[in-house]
């Protein structure tokens, strides 16, 4: 099976007056054809930057400093010139954005905005493009698509707008869909419908999807596999069920513990990860998660744990991962850790 996407050693930096600051460090992963991968983590963990980098949509002063982003046909997106990218964007890989209102041009009719994406990749007449636009809108569940195509974004509700953005993303028949927090800006019932729609479309069209989210509930309903990012690095990856059942990285464990459960005791305090993620310029020595980690010990301060394959397609960047996998680790007493 050829991978829909192979990312190798992706490093993203922001260029300022001082030395460049690395925001995403040495991220490598693979996405199989038709696979749905969840990229989760707190704000600032680098998950959205990674997604934008795949589309080469990072804006100066943020840029890819090294790494390869290879599509199924071997094209390295990271190495392409700006004008060569137009043929890739939309056609091979397309994106769905967090806020569908600001993602659409407010002064152009939505039908025209979708048609434009079709014309960008195919030499078709306006009438053909129009017919395709109406079909796409119908496919994503916009009622009365003939009429709605002639309306402007502000005449749509949030959920309908996101359907338009999804229709636009599908218009040139991509094999890879990058969805950056596609449900975050929507209300809860709409979130569920948009997620269902994405799931149905991904299955019908055999799309490989990267879903960026900080909502583990969303990830659980949508993804085959999860990747957890922390402070610009991948800290854990694995099949959804395994990762939920037995997180190998303490950060994943903390994230899962923070999920609000309906059967929890309402009087008990909401579980939350203590502390703040470090800022990109001030990463602690050793493991970036160490200051917040309940299991940390002396080695974590000296040595940054690399992302290491443990078993069955699982990998984690934690010194304790093999033991955690075997289920033989109890947390140290103090978050700073003691001798073991």
């Amino acid at each position: 099976m050829t991978a829909a996407l192979t990312v190798t050693g992706l490093t993203i930096e922001v260029v300022g007056r001082d030395a460049p600051l690395q925001l995403v460090r040495d991220v490598s992963f693979q996405l199989g054809a038709g696979e749905r991968l969840g990229l989760v983590g707190e704000s600032g963990s680098g998950k959205s930057l990674t997604a934008l980098a795949v589309m080469r949509l990072l804006q100066a002063p943020v840029r890819i400093s090294s790494g390869q982003i290879t599509l199924s046909d071997g094209t390295d997106v990271a190495a392409l010139e700006e004008r060569e990218l137009a043929a890739i964007r939309g056609r091979r890989a397309a994106m769905v954005y967090q806020d569908p209102l600001s993602a659409l041009n407010p002064v152009r009719r939505v039908g025209d905005q979708i048609a434009e994406a079709i014309h960008a990749h195919e030499d078709v007449t306006a009438a053909v493009a129009r017919r395709r636009v109406v079909e796409l809108l119908r496919e994503v569940g916009v009622p009365d698509p003939e009429r709605r195509a002639d309306q402007y974004p502000h005449e749509f509700s949030g959920g309908m707008r996101q359907r338009v953005v999804i229709a636009m993303a599908l218009s040139a028949g991509p094999e890879l869909l990058v969805a950056d927090e596609p449900t975050t800006a929507l209300d809860v019932t709409t979130q569920a419908r948009i997620l269902e729609l994405l799931l149905r479309l991904a299955e019908q069209r055999g799309l490989a999807v990267i879903l960026i989210t900080h909502d583990l509930g969303v990830a659980a309903r949508f993804c085959d596999r999860l990747q957890v990012m922390y402070a610009g690095r991948l800290v854990e990856t694995g099949p959804l069920a395994d990762l939920y059942r037995n997180p190998l990285h303490p950060y994943s464990e903390g994230l899962l513990a923070s999920v609000c459960r309906l059967d929890a005791d309402p009087a008990a305090p909401m579980p939350a990860l203590a502390g703040q993620p470090p800022s990109a310029g001030q990463l602690p020595a050793g493991c970036s998660f160490r200051p917040r980690c309940a299991y940390a010990y002396e080695r974590c301060e000296r040595e940054r744990p690399p992302l290491t394959e443990i078993a069955g397609g699982r990998a984690a960047a934690c010194h304790l991962a093999p033991e955690r996998s075997a289920g033989t680790v109890a947390p140290a007493l103090a978050p700073t850790g003691g001798d073991r």
């Binding site: 137009a86 600001s102 407010p106 002064v107 152009r108 434009e116 994406a117 960008a120």
Partner: protein, 323 residues
């Protein structure tokens, strides 16, 4: 479109009210300013025969009460009669009519020149801010913002007329009489005014383009595979033009109201020079009507500008409810 009709009617009503107030204010102000057309006409303030003065005042109707004078002016206005100039044998309507055509020509060309210069300059400056072209645009804009138009005009005259001998320095020939000479004569004043219009527009447009180019929908347009050129011209520019619309409206009003100094530099017989002459001679009849015309132009242009907002930005369209 019922809402639109109501809106237009309301705006028209407000416009008429504004004109009425402006007529009152103009009329009152002119009567307060010292001096009088009769004194000018009799050749200055010294040695004037009081009898001759009184006779002339009676002849011109200036011995009537101010209220009566105002009412007779407004009454004439409503019938399309603006009265008689105190100094020329022509009716005020004729005088204004003679000046409107050159003013329209100069204003129209200056506006087009301004747009044609400013839009590409702002695009270069905003999309490639570090390029040499952008730096040149920024320097030229700053210089033109600082230099008054008459200075730019005189510089043109010195270089293009006096030294190079390419264009005539000043004058006016109607287009219908000699199209080529007309264009040769209008070139320098139109360019001078065009530059004066362009400089602030570049500054405005550069700022709003810079902002628009960072908007998420620009990323969407790029992300669907459009070439950079299509993204900038098809998505960024239409949105960036919206905030400049008010400036463009005011500019059209300013150009049509007569641009005194530039008209003087190039001997262009537009409304602006008509006003100056009328002020110097206290030619009330001409002055009050031209000022009122300028107010009417401003009111109309502002109204058109507001309607244009609805054309450029569907969110601001009047009378269209949510679906």
């Amino acid at each position: 479109m019922n809402g639109l009709r109501g809106y237009v009617l309301r705006r028209l009503g407000a416009g008429v009210l504004l004109l009425a107030l402006a007529s009152l204010l103009t009329f009152a102000l002119l009567r307060v300013v010292p001096g009088d057309p009769t004194i000018t006409k009799l050749g200055g303030a010294r040695n004037i025969d009081p009898a001759a003065l009184a006779e002339l005042r009676h002849e011109l109707g200036l011995d009537r009460s101010v209220v009566a004078q105002y009412l007779s002016w407004v009454g004439g206005l409503l019938q399309g009669d603006l009265g008689q100039s105190y100094f020329s044998q022509y009716a005020v309507t004729t005088l204004i009519g003679q000046r409107v055509v050159p003013t329209l020509e100069l204003a129209g060309l200056a506006f087009v020149v301004g747009l044609v210069l400013a839009v590409p300059a702002a695009l270069v400056s905003a999309t490639r801010p570090r390029s040499i072209a952008a730096r040149l645009v920024n320097a030229a804009t700053a210089a033109l913002m600082a230099a008054p138009p008459f200075l730019v005009g005189i510089a043109f005259v010195v270089v293009l007329s006096v030294q190079a001998g390419l264009l005539p320095a000043r004058g006016y020939v109607p287009f219908v009489e000699d199209p080529l000479e007309n264009l040769r004569l209008v070139a320098m004043p139109a360019l001078t005014l065009g530059l004066a219009v362009a400089a602030p527009l570049v500054v405005l447009l550069r700022a709003s383009l810079g902002e628009t180019l960072r908007a998420p929908f620009i990323r969407t347009a790029t992300g669907k595979g459009l070439q950079r050129r299509r993204v900038v011209l098809g998505h960024a520019l239409p949105n960036a033009l919206i905030p400049s619309l008010t400036y463009l409206g005011v500019t059209v009003g300013y150009l049509l109201g007569g641009v005194v100094v530039v008209e003087y530099v190039f001997g262009w017989p537009g409304l602006g020079s008509l006003v100056v002459d009328a002020v110097l001679k206290r030619d009330y009849a001409v002055l009050q009507s031209v000022v009122l015309l300028a107010v009417a132009i401003f009111v109309f242009v502002t109204f058109v500008t507001d309607l244009l907002y609805g054309v450029l930005d569907p969110r601001l369209r009047v009378g269209e409810g949510q679906p």
